[in-house]
Every structure is written in C-alpha cells, then in structure tokens.
Symmetry: C2
C-alpha cells in the first residue's frame, strides 16, 4: 500500500523531538495509511492560548504551509482553534484539515447533543459554529490552564467532573477542544469512567484527512 | 494488525453476491483496517424509497442487528436515511454508524456551505438536521429516480448539472444522499468535472466507523 504523505503543523515551538512528533506518532499508530512529517512554527514556545497569540501565529502557519504543500498529499493544522485552515483551504490544492472542525463534525456522529471541554476561557468558534443548538455547553475544568495540568491527579479528576456535569446537562457525547488532551492520554481515562463517547482531536483530524485522501485516490 | 470485524446492513434484499457486497468491497479496498461481512434485510427487493418502506424496514433492521452484534466490533447501516441508527445506538454496546449522519457530518469539514444531491423527493432528515443553515439546498437530478439511472450518460449529466447548480448557489462542497451513488462510481466523475469536493456516503461511513473503532482500542 502506497502511503499518504501528510504534513502536521504544530502551533507550539519546540526543539524536543518527542514533543514535536507527539501528534504524528499517534496518527501513524492509529492510521497505517499515513506517513507523517511534523514541523512547528517559530518563536511561540507557549503556542496559541488567546486571540493575540492566534493572530501572531496565523502568517507563520500560512508561510510554512505554502512552502511545504508541494511535497505533501495532505496538511493537518493540529490545533483545535483551526488557525489558518479556512485561508489555506482556498490557497492549496491538497486537502487541509484542522483539529477543531474535524472534532466538532465527528462528535455529531456520536450523539444527539454534545458537550465541549477545553482549556481556554471560551470554546473555539468552530465548535459553536458546527454544533450550534446541538451543543449543551462548554466547560474549562477547574484548575486546568494548560496541558501539563492534565497529567496530575487533580487535573484528570477535574476533566472527569466536567464530563459528568455535561452529561447531567444532557450531553450524549463529549468533544475535546484541545489537542494537548490527546497527548495527555485523557480519552482512555474518560471513556473508562463516563459512559458516553469522547471525541479525541488527533483521532478526529486523522479520520477526516483519511476521508479526503481516499476520495482523491478514488479519482 | 488485527482487523476490526464490521457488519454492513444493506436495506435492499438481494441474492446477487456482487450487489450484496458492493459497499463492503469498497470499504475493504479503502480501509484495510476492516474485515467486512454484509447481510441484507428480507423481502425488500426495491429497498427503502419512501416513508412506508422506511417504516417496514425498521423492525427488520433492529432484529438483524440485535442477533448479529455479539459477533462484531462495529455495525454500519449503509443507507443515507439512517434507518434504525438512533434506536440501535441506544440498544447496542458496539459503535453504530449510519451513512446519512456520517456523510452530512463529513461534508462540514469540506466547505462552509454544502449542497445535497439525492434520488428521493426530499433530502433525508439527518442531512437537514446536521447541516442546518449551512445547507444551500437539495436537488433530485432531472430524470434520476433510482441508482440504475446513474449508470446512463443522461443520468450522470443530470447529476453533474445538479452539482453545478448547487455550486452556483454558493455550495463549496456536495454531500451525496444515496449510497447507490457510491457504487455507481459517480464521485470520481463529479470530482473531475466540478472543482468542489464531493462527500461519498460509503467513504464517509467508513471513516466515521474507523474513528469509533480507534477510540475503542485506545482504551
């Protein structure tokens, strides 16, 4: 089987290969169809965490993508805020997938009503846009401000508590709104503890990219 | 790689193994992760094509699924009307995916506004429910009443004409609302002729099932 060459853009600057390739490693493990290469944008060691850092990152993402695209079958912007995704879809001839749109769209197949959990103050705009009236609400778990907090006992309990609250409000599925939650391994923990399906951003971006690659090859 | 055992329910009764396995053959070709088995419901040689045949099929689909589920990792109801999918999701412990919800949700990742093309009088309820205000409308192509019409020159031109009309109305992507369009091979033809992505129901049900299988194994 010839593999699809997929580029993954990380929106946090790192020299540590293990951190850099964390999403790519998951994607290759789950989807043997993919050969993943990862690059990150420069000078944002804390990534994107508010509107200012989003706007600063945008031209860097566009520049990196334009230079890289000729060597790729598809490009993933591995961030739940989908920075640059709408712009790149218009600029590039290859499929472009953002974690945010992918996760929100995937969660619609898991249940009638969906709860959103993230680490920023508000839910990413794409989640609200796609889920509309099918969203039961957004929660930032108590005391969780970054992905490191997800590795502590308190952080994991806080996310679990948020899941249970959203389920109590009628959620039949949970959409995670931060790719850091994928690498923190929180999904297996949540799925064991709450009886509703949880949409993982890295798995969601993977299936949506695979769909577009398969469609292209069906040509 | 251990494969996922996926059952595919066809809602049209046939003894012809090539017709019966048509969707399964596509799924196995696109997704080597799957080992597909296909069964059809009894006594509906013309499948589901209106509200009466939908209601008649419903208890047959539920019965077949309940008997079969213990031997499966996941179940696909391969029909854009999603007959029995909501009911089965509540009854079964394995993932259940319907072509309709899958295709509509997938199409949201392809463009801001989506046009729907099917062969029944109205668009399936699930498409309208998921696309909401992002739908630009539904078209039943002129003269196309069943999937055999899709194999003629006139039928294919009619579908192409519908695509162009929906694009003219602002559609950035097309969601097909009939799995027969997948087996008729209309997607490669459309994608060559119109410059917007087309969501194929069999590919869409495949990626959404793969997502749920991967999530389960991540446990």
């Amino acid at each position: 089987m010839e593999k699809y060459r997929i580029g993954v853009i990380r929106v946090l600057t790192t020299q540590d290969p293990q951190i850099l390739h964390a999403h790519g490693d998951l994607l290759e493990r789950y989807f043997p169809q993919f050969q993943i290469e990862t690059r990150c944008i420069p000078d944002q060691p804390y990534g994107i965490y508010d509107e200012v850092t989003f706007q600063v990152a945008l031209p860097k993402i566009i520049k990196l993508a334009l230079e890289w695209a000729p060597y790729l079958d598809g490009l993933i912007v591995s961030c739940a805020g989908d920075p640059g995704v709408d712009e790149l879809r218009k600029l590039l001839a290859i499929p472009v997938v953002g974690a945010g749109t992918a996760t929100a769209a995937y969660s619609l197949t898991l249940g009638e009503r969906v709860g959103i959990i993230g680490i920023e103050e508000n839910s990413p705009a794409k989640y609200d846009r796609i889920l509309g009236s099918r969203s039961v609400g957004y929660i930032r778990p108590e005391g969780v401000r970054n992905t490191l907090d997800l590795l502590t006992e308190e952080g994991r309990e806080a996310v679990l508590h948020a899941c249970r609250r959203l389920r109590g409000q009628g959620a039949e599925a949970i959409a995670l709104a931060c790719t850091g939650m994928s690498t923190a391994g929180i999904v297996p923990f949540l799925q064991k503890e709450v009886a509703i399906p949880v949409a993982d951003p890295v798995i969601a971006e993977g299936i949506m990219m695979l769909g577009q690659c398969v469609h292209k090859r069906a040509n």
